[in-house]
Symmetry: C2
Subunit: 227 residues, 2 copies
Amino acid sequence: VVELRGVAKTYRMGSVTVSALRDVDLDVAAGDMVAITGPSGSGKSTLMNIVGCLDRPSQGSYVLAGRCVDGLADDALAETRNRSIGFVFQSFHLLSRLSALENVELPLVYRGMGVRRRRALACQALADVGLEDRMHHLPAQLSGGQQQRVAVARALAGRPSLLLADEPTGNLDSRAGRDVLALFQGLNDEGMTVVVVTHDPLVARHCRRILSVADGLIAGCAEVAAG
Amino acid sequence: VVELRGVAKTYRMGSVTVSALRDVDLDVAAGDMVAITGPSGSGKSTLMNIVGCLDRPSQGSYVLAGRCVDGLADDALAETRNRSIGFVFQSFHLLSRLSALENVELPLVYRGMGVRRRRALACQALADVGLEDRMHHLPAQLSGGQQQRVAVARALAGRPSLLLADEPTGNLDSRAGRDVLALFQGLNDEGMTVVVVTHDPLVARHCRRILSVADGLIAGCAEVAAG
Ligand SMILES: Nc1ncnc2c1ncn2[C@@H]1O[C@H](COP(=O)(O)OP(=O)(O)OP(=O)(O)O)[C@@H](O)[C@H]1O
Ligand SMILES: Nc1ncnc2c1ncn2[C@@H]1O[C@H](COP(=O)(O)OP(=O)(O)OP(=O)(O)O)[C@@H](O)[C@H]1O
Ligand SMILES: [Mg+2]
Ligand SMILES: [Mg+2]
């Protein structure tokens, strides 16, 4: 599903160049469940934004489900993203004037889904994360962990084939974190490909492989023993 | 230092009333180091916002360092806050048009501190959290964990007598999280009163007391064995 070759990402700030990613090769097969770990500032979110077609690499190539995406025009890139990728942002990025329910419905609106079906899927996704009694709250009327769970529901509502989650349990207590993880595992068992950035060893242990990122490179890859 | 009696906080949304806090008594002595834990949505941030003079209780009384604050006018409340409280918000609340250094300097500007001294304190605080080479980055040019560390530096730069930190390590890997905790402990040893909301048992274990919040009430209090 995901094939990165020699991907780099550099930012220029005046005379200084920051290399967020240096030379990354990454393969994720359909149905895989992969964890990405690494120190703060090592390049994990930059990598996820490129895999999620939210940002373009400075160098290298990216093939997603057999299609080369690094050369696509902006609207074709957005179309690919909306059709097949669900994304949980590290900083949630909820729209402040929309309720929890409307935020979860939004990706389904972009896909042109009918009102009745989109409302049913969004309600179900919010119930899956334990927020059936907070659907009409605005983000400012939710706790940090509740906002994070709305972001998770938004990524899952449209049943994407690829789920990219950037620290999806960072603001959750261990109980709520386990519930989100169980949700991801259930969807992975049904065939969804899942990539999770996490600092939580408990989350990483539930994946098949753990990739560790350091200083813009994939420094290591460990298979997790089954069971 | 902090004395809450019978504090409640309710939000009215149309015909629905949400009780974020029900009936909270809380005492924090000078030089204490207290952890607050509890499920997502249980009322932790609401409690911290009231203790930090950022929000007012719907009922009950609050005495801070011998002064009754629940009746103070807005600017007197802000003056009390700026002089003696450092706050790390759960969602950082960095100003997007200011650099990391300018964000850290801002509370010192409000206090009327001179440019040279405030610049020196802000640089030191960013170095304390390992961000000396990211001082001129805007928040959008920093990773999630780096933004969180800027928020920690901003709370500490002015050496407040009371530090309130709401999930200060939620976006940090275990190494960076330990560094922030060590910083708090060092300041607590020097006499700073510290209250930390956390889901991380490692952080809670380093405090003297752990208060657990559930459904808007303080459900339990455990002393942590020394050593
Ligand atoms: N403005 C508001 N209007 C209505 N309800 C609110 C508002 N702000 C917060 N709440 C509700 O109050 C409750 C307590 O929120 P609070 O932010 O204190 O939780 P928390 O313990 O910090 O949770 P988390 O661990 O997820 O950050 C939540 O159920 C939330 O939905
Ligand atoms: N727009 C930008 N301009 C300059 N540098 C940037 C920019 N965006 C990110 N960086 C830098 O790129 C590096 C990688 O950032 P990234 O967000 O990928 O880290 P991360 O591994 O996700 O960290 P965390 O665990 O803290 O979220 C960081 O050192 C960051 O400062
Ligand atoms: Mg990140
Ligand atoms: Mg909170």
